[in-house]
């Protein structure tokens, strides 16, 4: 059970990372990051079968933080949209060098 959950979690994490890497749209990237966090949550829950409740407590934390991050992240993405009229990362590159 733990093994499967850990594998499942790792696969989800990888998919999330790939999504972050390959997509251009800020919202999708952001959703992929949420996917990564979810994946880690799975690991914690699975591990807490081994080690006791601490893992599950951690999951609550992560969820809370993810929710807060979601609120802030979406707000930031909207403010970017206001300036650039889209959220394609290719177009968001004023500063370099």
């Amino acid at each position: 059970m733990i093994q499967e959950a850990l594998f499942f979690s790792a696969v989800l994490f990888i998919i999330g990372v790939i999504g972050v890497l390959t997509r251009r749209n800020a919202i999708i990237i952001f959703m992929c990051v949420e996917l990564m966090l979810n994946a880690v949550n799975l690991s914690f829950v699975a591990l807490s079968r081994l080690y006791g409740i601490a893992g599950q407590v951690f999951v609550i934390f992560v969820m809370t933080v993810a929710a807060a991050e979601a609120a802030v992240g979406l707000a930031i993405i909207i403010s970017i949209f206001r300036h650039h009229e889209n959220v394609d990362l290719r177009n968001i590159n004023l500063m370099r060098g």
Partner: protein
């Protein structure tokens, strides 16, 4: 005592600024010269001690834990430098008083402050026995020199020269720091006396080569030795008093000072002396050559200074006591005559405004005393008896004859000295005595202040040689003893000894010098027409390196910092992978395949497969909506897995969060009409795919490995040892209450409240545009609109139920709040946010804030009654015979509920305002 002198010097330089305003143009130079002059007199007080061969020490702890103690030590060699610094310092300040009379008052004040600060730093450098303190003062002299060279900063030349000098000398200082660190590592001490005393031990250190390289770079940069010699002629952009002081008499000798202190170490190290002499010879030759080509009065003097410094470095490199005697003698002689010549050059510049030697002539008519002083100094420089220069040159040749070196340095020394003779002749004859009538009138004549310096120094150059006993006993012998480590009996050369080898060499030098002087014009013209050296000298190399470095840095910047977020992400991932791989490589732990395949069960595997499918769809999806649905699916699968792993509470929370995020995203998408076209090129796709594949490979390697480990250790051992499977089936939220006493809940509630305010302040302006005038852009869905009310009330009731569920535990607040927020979200999805806002009536931020207060306040009764914050109290009331148990957990939960609700609504309404813009 000597610390007081240093402190006095510092105070004096601080006072220079106001005083120079106070005393005006004429008097301030004379007055401020009292600072160095009184120091000079104070130092003379030490004569008996020094002459007796003792040293004065003073110690104060400064930063003891860092090994930096203010250890001052005045021995013979330091004493010589201290006298030069203060004595010439006084003359420079007097001279500057009149030289700068055309400058504005603030400019003059700045000059006086800087020059006196420089004097302080210089004194500190030669007095400190701790290498670190020496380094501090060393760097201070560099920066003051920088400021003085760039004194006339309005034109680009001084600026360039100043920056070049600073880069070279301050950089050399850091090389010194590196060397000092290594000395400390080798000896366990930063004291200069220890370096001298334990020179052999240091020479055996494994770090000796880097130490010597560091010391040599530091000394060569400071004393303008090849290949760093180029900054000194450029530094002639400084006002002439500063040139006289810094760039001939004192600062450039700091490198010599350091080398002399390290001489035992250099001598003990293999090929130490050879290196030193090789660089010195190169410097001497290049400087002599350039001196013949130079056109400006000050530049000629600068190159002759570089050549003289080369001679000094060579003398440090030569072994034997006479070399030390010659070195010490030459430091004194050179300071006397070169400072005089700079003073004279300054007077000429000041009087005529000319800088090229070619344009000058016949100035003896206007500046008679200056001309005489220049002539005296030149005779000393040419090494003619009975001047100090003669004595030092005799010692120079004596040292060469006695040293174990072959004829090459001797030949070079003869040649270079001959050139110096010629230079001495040129810089006196050309401007003052030849070419009468070239200069018709001068802007300024001689003034007492402009004369004191050259006259005193040039006369000293004569008097010290005629009456040498006092200076020999009081200054020179102790100085030589301090450097050489043993007393050396001095026998001064004199014409009375008849024709000796050295005298013959001197005669040869003067002869060749006279010849060069005779044919100066043609030689000069010929050499100037050769420009090859200008193209291949180290100055150009330095500039080219600087330029190349700049270009390299720019290229690096463009390469590293391209501004493309996707590539940044790429690098983070690649580096993360590198770290994980490194962990395995370093421990030699390569992934192994498990012996047996884990037994997979159908149920979890199927669930996992759905989740993976969802995630994959999310990544591949073309439209945002399908991505969203896919992410949602994965989230629900995650919740399902939580449930299967014995965490029903988490599953519930996950459901709520997932639903909420879907709704929020939908709202965002209604506000922002977005689509997600694929914008990647083929190459980017390949790149991404390969990186992703690599990453998967690494993670799977670790995972497979992990599964072998966990079979072996994680599960069996650990279960046997600890036997807890206790998490299964327990309510995590209950555990939070029991184990964590609500603190963490409070913490995360804080995070949520924070995000409320963040969303609120990020989204849209508050004062304008928030009114009801704006039209909702969201499409209203009829069916949804009809059913939304029903759902809203259902959800609200559900949320209250969840809140009250398990009425003896904390826990319902979070999920309850999310559920209630879901209801509002539905309303705003169906009827627009304004409607939802109207239904709420309260400001969402107030909701969140109030909730937080409620949560905190609920802990107070426990704190007051039981001394435990967040220890919840219970009350049983009989209502109509039915016992109802209620506790302070309810307000806590209600607080959390309100915070969550307020936060989500703040976000919703913020979005609404955003859409209304």
């Amino acid at each position: 005592m000597i610390a007081w002198l240093l402190g006095f010097a510092f105070l004096g330089s601080c006072a220079a600024w106001p005083l120079s305003f106070l005393f005006g143009r004429r008097a301030s130079g004379w007055l401020l010269a009292l600072v160095p002059a009184s120091l000079f007199v104070a130092f003379l007080d030490f004569v008996p001690t020094i002459a007796a061969g003792r040293a004065v020490e003073w110690r104060m702890t400064w930063a003891p834990s860092l090994g930096v103690d203010l250890t001052l030590r005045l021995d013979g060699f330091s004493f010589l430098f201290a006298l030069l610094i203060t004595g010439i310092g006084a003359l420079v300040v007097v001279y500057a008083g009149d030289y700068l009379s055309n400058e504005s008052a603030p400019s003059r004040a700045r000059f006086f402050t800087l020059i006196l600060l420089f004097m302080t730093a210089m004194l500190g450098a030669v007095l400190s026995d701790n290498l670190l303190v020496l380094f501090l003062f060393w760097e201070a002299t560099s920066i003051l020199s920088f400021l003085l060279i760039g004194f006339h900063a309005d034109s680009p030349h001084p600026r360039r020269a100043a920056l070049m000098a600073l880069r070279v000398t301050a950089g050399g200082g850091l090389a010194l720091l590196a060397a000092i660190i290594l000395v400390g590592m080798s000896l366990g001490s930063y004291l200069l006396t220890d370096v001298t005393a334990r020179a052999y031990e240091l020479a055996q250190s494994p770090w000796i080569v880097p130490i010597l390289i560091g010391v040599l770079i530091a000394a060569f940069t400071k004393s303008a030795q090849f290949p760093f010699h180029f900054w000194l002629p450029n530094a002639m952009q400084a006002p002439t008093p500063a040139s006289a002081y810094l760039h001939s008499a004192t600062m450039v000798k700091l490198g010599i000072y350091l080398l002399a202190r390290f001489e035992p170490v250099i001598g003990a190290a293999p090929r130490g002396r050879d290196t030193l002499i090789a660089f010195a010879l190169a410097t001497m030759l290049i400087a002599a050559f350039q001196a013949l080509r130079a056109e400006n009065f000050k530049t000629v003097l600068a190159y002759s200074t570089v050549a003289s410094l080369g001679i000094l470095v060579m003398l440090v490199g030569l072994d034997g006591p006479i070399a030390t005697v010659a070195m010490v003698g030459f430091v004194l002689a050179h300071a006397l005559y070169k400072a005089t010549l700079f003073f004279c050059a300054g007077s000429v510049l000041h009087a005529t405004g000319l800088s090229k030697l070619r344009a000058m002539g016949g100035l003896v008519r206007f500046l008679p005393v200056t001309a005489v002083a220049a002539a005296l100094a030149s005779l000393s420089m040419a090494g003619l008896p009975p001047f100090v220069g003669f004595i030092s040159k005799e010692f120079l040749f004596e040292a060469q004859i006695q040293s174990s070196w072959n004829a090459v340095p001797m030949a070079v020394a003869v040649l270079v000295n001959a050139v110096l003779v010629a230079v001495a002749g040129v810089v006196t004859l050309r401007p003052f005595f030849l070419g009468r009538g070239k200069v018709k009138h001068v802007k300024h004549g001689e003034t007492p202040a402009l004369l004191v310096g050259p006259v005193v120094l040039s006369l000293l150059g004569l008097l010290l040689s005629l009456e040498p006993d006092w200076i020999t006993a009081a200054v020179m012998r102790p100085a030589v003893a301090a450097v050489y480590g043993a007393d050396v009996a001095l026998e001064l050369p004199s014409l009375r000894h008849g024709v000796t080898q050295t005298l013959a060499l001197s005669a040869v030098v003067v002869g060749i010098g006279a010849l060069i002087l005779r044919f100066w014009g043609p030689i000069h013209a010929h050499l100037r027409s050769r420009t090859l050296i200008d193209r291949y000298d180290t100055e150009h190399a330095f500039e080219a390196i600087t330029r190349r470095g700049g270009r390299l840095a720019a290229a690096t910047a463009r390469w590293v910092q391209h501004g493309d977020l996707r590539k940044y992400l790429w690098v983070v991932l690649a580096s993360g992978m590198a770290f994980v791989i490194w962990g395995h490589v370093a421990t030699g732990r390569w992934p192994r395949l498990p012996d047996t395949l884990p037994g997979w069960r159908i149920g979890p595997a199927a669930v996992a497969l759905i989740g993976i499918g969802g995630a994959f769809a999310a990544v591949r999806a073309r439209t945002l909506v399908s991505t969203m649905v896919a992410v949602g699916l994965t989230g629900f699968v995650a919740a399902l897995t939580f449930m299967m792993n014995g965490a029903p509470d988490l599953a519930l929370t996950q459901f709520a969060v997932e639903s909420l995020i879907v709704v929020l995203l939908t709202l965002v998408l209604l506000v922002l009409p977005l689509d997600a076209p694929s914008t990647r090129t083929r190459r980017e796709r390949t790149l991404d795919a390969s990186l992703a594949a690599a990453f998967s490979l690494v993670v799977f390697g670790v995972l497979v490995d992990m599964s072998t480990t966990s079979r072996a250790t994680l599960i069996s051992d650990f279960f046997a040892a600890h036997s807890y499977v206790s998490a299964f089936g327990r309510n995590v939220v209950n555990v939070i209450l029991v184990d964590f006493r609500g603190f963490d809940t409070l913490g995360e509630t804080t995070v949520i409240a924070l995000s409320a305010i963040l969303a609120w302040s990020l989204l849209g302006p508050r004062t304008s545009g928030a009114g009801g005038a704006a039209v909702a852009r969201g499409r209203t869905i009829f069916i949804l609109s009809m059913t939304s009310r029903l759902f809203f009330w259902l959800l609200t009731v559900l949320s209250v139920l969840i809140l009250l569920r398990g009425h003896n535990q904390i826990g319902g607040g979070f999920v309850g709040g999310l559920t209630a927020a879901l209801g509002f979200a539905l309303i705003s999805l169906a009827d627009g946010t304004d409607r939802a806002r109207a239904m709420l009536r309260v400001h969402p931020i107030s909701l969140a804030g109030g909730g937080l207060f409620l949560a905190i306040a609920s802990g107070l009764p426990g704190l007051i009654l039981h001394g435990d914050f967040l220890r919840h109290l219970w009350l049983e009331i009989d209502v109509f015979g039915i016992p109802i148990k209620q506790g302070t957990t309810l307000p806590f939960d209600l607080g959390v509920y309100l915070v969550v609700l307020g936060t989500v609504l703040a976000f919703l309404f913020g979005l609404r305002r955003e859409a209304a813009r």
